[in-house]
């Protein structure tokens, strides 16, 4: 403890619960007091984003868009507009596996829970996801408005907001002159610069069978990494493992993959791509990643097989 805190350049770390997640901010610096100030500023930025994107407070921009679904376009901050626009771009890329209208799911038909013993029939399941369709998010760039075309549609930033917040926090730290650090949003990380002493950062990837331990690690810098897995919430039906993630095309829970790790230039992309790759499955998901520049991927399937994109070497 003392050694790390007192000698030369060190890491200052703080964990806070924000946006329903545990954020851990690590900053490398020579002055612990100054590092603490930088961390304060990063936390302030994350809180700002939380306030902007939350669906828990009735007058947030997100909620106003949702309340006016099928009624009227809502003028939003340029920042929110841009985030929605980027979300739609990722929807296009992933054939709709990523969709910010995922919250439109109709839970009155059936609800995924731990005690489930049978899957719903295909028709009921499809009925449940009928309102999920990113094509019905209508943007007007000049008026800076967002309009949900169908009544009952809802958007949410659950699949991208955490990564966006991590990226913004990193930006705030970089603007304050922090040359090395990590913003870790519950496993979605923006990593830049070097460890004290000069090496790349070592990032462990959780073993889906024992999530508190890594099954592997990699040394990276100036990159983001995010993992999403079904090891937190899943259900066994007829000996098959189903994740709590619902495929927006079929309305059925996703199966076959234990965890997806994405590496990307920024945390927003990394965060946003993990879930759709899991939904798309190994074949279509890997085919997508294979074609994307600057993106790498590690998938562990239900049989504990590890699949990696070609830009990753195994050692």
């Amino acid at each position: 403890m003392l050694l790390n805190n007192i000698l030369e350049t060190g890491i200052r770390k703080r964990s806070v619960k924000l946006m329903g997640n545990r954020f851990e901010i690590s900053v490398v610096g020579d002055d612990p007091i100054l590092s603490d100030l930088h961390i304060d500023a990063a936390i302030t930025e994350i809180k700002r984003i939380e306030t902007m994107l939350t669906t828990y407070s009735p007058d947030s921009q997100t909620n106003r868009i949702n309340e006016n679904a099928g009624i009227a376009p809502i003028k939003v901050d340029r920042e929110v507009f841009d985030l929605v626009a980027r979300s739609l771009q990722i929807s296009n890329l992933t054939q709709g596996a990523f969709d910010i209208t995922y919250g439109s799911i109709d839970k009155s038909l059936w609800n995924f829970d731990q005690n489930m013993t049978v899957l719903p029939d295909a028709k009921t399941a499809r009925q449940q996801v009928r309102l999920i369709n990113y094509h019905n998010v209508i943007l007007d760039k000049n008026a800076c408005t967002v309009f949900l075309h169908e009544k009952g549609m809802r958007i949410g930033f659950g699949g991208i907001g955490k990564g966006y917040a991590a990226e913004r926090a990193k930006m705030v730290l970089q603007q304050r002159g922090v040359t090395s650090g990590i913003v870790n949003a519950s496993g979605d990380m923006a990593v830049w610069g070097y460890q004290p002493g000069g090496g790349n950062w070592t990032i462990g990837i959780a073993n889906p069978d024992a999530a508190q331990y890594p099954f592997s690690h990699l040394d990276i810098t100036d990159m983001a990494i995010a993992t999403s897995g079904n090891y937190e919430k899943f259900v066994m039906i007829d000996g098959k493992k189903y994740s709590h993630t619902i495929d927006p095309k079929t309305g059925l829970p996703v199966t076959g993959i234990k965890s997806v790790t994405i590496m990307a230039p920024n945390a927003e992309i990394a965060d946003a791509l993990t879930t759709p790759v899991m939904i798309m499955g190994i074949r279509a998901g890997m085919d997508l990643v294979r074609q994307l520049k600057y993106i790498a991927c590690i998938i562990i399937d239900d049989n504990n097989r590890v699949f990696t994109s070609k830009n990753i070497r195994l050692a």
């Binding site: 003392l2 050694l3 007192i6 000698l7 030369e8 002055d31 612990p32 100030l37 304060d40 302030t44 306030t51 980027r86 771009q89 890329l93 992933t94 930006m171 970089q174 603007q175 830049w192 070097y194 460890q195 002493g197 090496g199 950062w201 462990g204 990837i205 508190q212 331990y213 592997s216 690690h217 990699l218 040394d219 810098t221 990159m223 495929d247 095309k249 079929t250 076959g256 590496m263 230039p265 920024n266 992309i269 939904i279 074949r283 279509a284 085919d287 994307l292 520049k293 600057y294 562990i300 049989n303 504990n304 097989r305 590890v306 990696t308 070609k310 830009n311 070497r313 195994l314 050692a315």
Partner: protein
């Protein structure tokens, strides 16, 4: 796409099974689709397309995208669960101790096929504790190997509680014996050190240290702790990629003495003045034989004015002197024996004071039921190079 298999135990990895295809991946409604050029490159234009490039990336550093082709190396851990539980301390996240090889020194070296930067972290430790005597003893050793760095470490721990269990003394002896390759910035390499890894010069760095602490519960209100470390390092103590520019504009890699003795001394005291007032104080003094001296002083008070309202004024002060070998950019003479321009080793002082308040009235803030918590924190920071800043943060919770 590459694949291999993790055996049922979840940790052991069998490369042999890598290409077995007993079960096909489950199919989905999603099809393989050929992306357009723009789509394939979406990451590089992700923000600029929407016109907020500078706002999001800050325009600093991270905008140059690393080409990932073959530059990410995934290192699989090969120990079993049982031994890890006892012997390995590797949490998900960042390994703060061992430094890995550095990408930005020479990208060529990293992408070459011969580069095999495998790292192994075997380490073992053993602890025996005698609860009735309040005594524990432990020892351990560790090894770390990678392309540019090898380290052997060992430690001995001892702790003893006083008879009435109100005090505890602990001592630790430790050593790290490191061997590193010197990878200089590419423009400072001589021809013999550029071509292949095997030709990098290597050097050693040995660290021997001891760490002592004594904590004592003086009474139900006061707890104190004394902390002392003695650390001696020898060998190569600079970093091969820290550049120094001299008065004549020539350039060299920093050069620092081959020995360093460090002595941090700390004192911590917490005082509970009734249930509603806690004083936390901390002081440490640090010195080393390179001429760096530093003082850190920290005082924080938690005042609970009511069960729903607390205030925490705080003050922190830090000062350090420069090492004897520091000079700014182009300020070193070429005749200097030792030289560095690393600002971590320069002289500075900083202080910060401020206060936080926290309100959690049961009927809600301003009587608004859903508005359950308000926290306001203000800090004023000054550094003696003229830097000043004020930080205000506001934390609101709605239920």
């Amino acid at each position: 796409m590459r694949k291999l298999s993790l055996a049922a135990i979840g940790m052991y990895l069998s490369i042999l099974a890598a290409f077995s295809q007993s079960t096909k991946p489950a199919d989905t409604a999603y099809k393989n689709r050929t992306l357009t050029f723009e789509e394939a490159n979406f990451a590089s234009s992700y923000y600029s397309q929407n016109g907020n490039n500078s706002a999001v990336t800050g325009g600093i550093g991270s905008e140059k995208l690393a080409d990932l082709s073959n530059s990410i190396e995934l290192k699989l851990h090969k120990w079993d669960r049982k031994s890890r539980k006892h012997t390995f301390d590797f949490e998900l996240g960042v390994d703060h101790y061992t430094s890995a090889s550095s990408d930005m020194i020479d990208l060529k070296a990293n992408s070459s096929a011969s580069h095999a930067d495998t790292r192994v972290y075997p380490s073992a430790s053993w602890t025996v504790e005698n609860e009735t005597k309040g005594r524990s003893f432990g020892l351990g050793g560790s090894m770390s190997f990678e392309f540019d760095y090898q380290s052997f470490g060992g430690h001995l721990d001892f702790s003893q509680k006083t008879k009435d269990k109100s005090g505890e003394f602990s001592a630790k002896l430790f050593t790290y014996l490191d061997n590193l390759k010197l990878i200089y910035p590419i423009e400072l390499r001589t021809t013999t050190t550029t071509a292949r890894h095997e030709e990098y010069a290597t050097t050693g760095r040995n660290t021997f240290g001891s760490s002592f602490s004594y904590s004592q519960i003086i009474n139900e209100r006061l707890q104190v702790a004394f902390l002392l470390d003695l650390i001696s390092q020898s060998g190569y103590l600079g970093l091969p990629f820290h550049r120094v520019y001299f008065t004549d504009n020539s350039l060299k890699v920093e050069n620092l003495p081959g020995n360093r003795f460090k002595l941090p001394l700390g004192f911590r005291a917490n005082y509970f003045l009734g249930d509603n007032l806690i004083l936390r104080s901390y002081y440490r003094y640090y010195m080393d034989d390179w001429g760096l001296r530093s003082h850190t002083f920290n005082l924080e008070t938690v005042i609970k004015l009511s069960p729903f309202f607390s205030a925490t004024p705080f003050y922190r002060y830090y000062t350090q002197s420069a090492v004897n070998y520091f000079a700014a950019y182009q300020a070193h003479k070429t005749t200097d024996q030792y030289y560095t321009s690393n600002y971590d080793l320069s002289e500075f002082a900083s202080q910060m004071f401020g206060m936080g308040i926290r309100l959690t009235p049961p009927s809600g803030i301003f009587g608004i039921e859903h508005f359950s918590m308000l926290e306001l924190r203000y800090g004023h920071y000054t550094k003696n190079n003229g830097m000043n800043s004020d930080i205000v943060s506001l934390n609101l919770r709605f239920k």
